[in-house]
């Protein structure tokens, strides 16, 4: 049965009516038109639908919209400010860490979750931080490059 809920997304409040079976991903894309969050495997295996929930990375395809009430949800649309890219987005662009772009919103948000808690992660921590996001184009090297640049870790794979 549909019920009224209130969600806090990218600092804005939204009131809507949803049934318990509706996922946060479905609400974001189909109710609110926030299509930056991607629907990939729709089963927890790819990370394309990653959003931040009170600062932690979660999979919006496995989160019921009802459970998002009372939380601060951040999607990729909430990053840029007045048309200015966030520094993570900036670094991804500059390092060429984007090819088809499908994994990028999730990848950027996982990076944000990592760096907000741990501004200077080691390579191992970077690997783990983005290990929940599959990318089928870049081979990850340039993504590591972008995150490492932000972390001030220096260039990865420089021994090659």
């Amino acid at each position: 049965m549909e019920q009224p809920i209130k969600l806090q997304i990218n600092g804005r409040s939204y009131m809507l009516n949803v049934g318990p079976q509706v996922t946060l991903l479905h609400v974001l894309r189909d109710y609110l038109g926030l299509t930056g969050t991607k629907e990939g495997c729709d089963g927890g295996e790819c990370g394309a639908c990653t959003v931040l929930c009170d600062g932690e990375s979660v999979l919006s395809c496995l989160m019921l919209a009802l459970d998002a009430q009372g939380k601060n949800i951040l999607t990729i649309e909430g990053l840029a400010n007045n048309g200015e890219l966030d520094r993570i987005q900036e670094a991804f662009v500059e390092e060429g860490a984007i090819q088809c772009g499908f994994c990028t919103p999730g990848m950027v948000l996982s990076t944000k979750a990592l760096l907000d808690r741990n501004p200077h992660p080691t390579f191992e921590e970077i690997r783990e931080g983005i290990s929940g996001n599959l990318c089928r184009c870049t081979g990850y090297v340039k993504v590591f490059g972008a995150v490492a640049r932000l972390a001030g870790t220096g260039k990865p794979f420089s021994d090659k």
Partner: protein
Amino acid sequence: MHLKPFAYHRPLSLAGLWDIMDKAPSGGFILLGGGTDVLPRMGQRLLAPAALIGLKNIAELKVIEREGDDVFIGAASALQHVRESELVSRLFPALAQAAARVGSPQLRHMGTIGGNLCLDTRCLYYNQRQGPGAFPRCYKKGGDRCHVVKGGKRCYALFSADTPAALLALDARVCIGGAAGKREAPLNEFYRDDGIRSRDIGEKEIVLGIKIPGKPVRVSAYLRFSTRAAIDFPLAGLAVSVEKSRSGAFVNPRVAATGICSRPLRLAGLETLLAGRDVRREITEEEWGDALKELRPVRHQGISPAYRKYLFGVLMQRARARLVP
């Protein structure tokens, strides 16, 4: 994920939970921890509950605290919190390491330790979207055959959660509760080697949490193999713990495995091999081969029984090295 409609209860206390469970019709609901296994199964049409009961808003189920010499971990604690808990990483490294290997950062933020303990068994022939083209009904789907063990008389679906192996090796006890009260049992008695019902828990009971003895002090480690390092279930997972001693010998060793049969399993052969032996002495292939002789894994997740045994042997060799002071 387009799910079939269901009622969703989100009690705020155990009292509220018992009330909802009491009123629910038999077989009418499924408990929801983080939902990282229940929801994909619902999406695949393997489960179609009339109601879900969410546990994540019950504060009593989210504590990690000392109880005398023991540490209690509430069932609704997120795996990431378990892993980052100072108590857990200091006293029970095997548990912190196992929690750290589950799925991906996103799954660890969402998934709970209760859900991990109660994770249903898995099988390539079962965990797939239902509908045209799916495999014919096997025992786990209410059919009359098993595709893994031809002519088999039961379901052999594989238990593949990470933390239960670590918890078995740490002599943990499981705390179970319901409207009628609480009970506690050694975790080893909670599981059974049955792909359809691998846990011994009543329909109107829940896992409240897990209790791990802090004494005697144990050193421990958890290692695993999986096809991909991240976002993947273990093909083989092994936890070892041993009482801390001055002599450098394996005192009361515990070895437990996941990914071997329909339950997490203590490996008595390896425990016997280790008992009393110097931790620094390497374990040869011949020795572990002998110790695992009794083990009869079935052909699962695409790897042969012999290779699976080999993985456990190699994990044992590597785990030993991790316990050297």
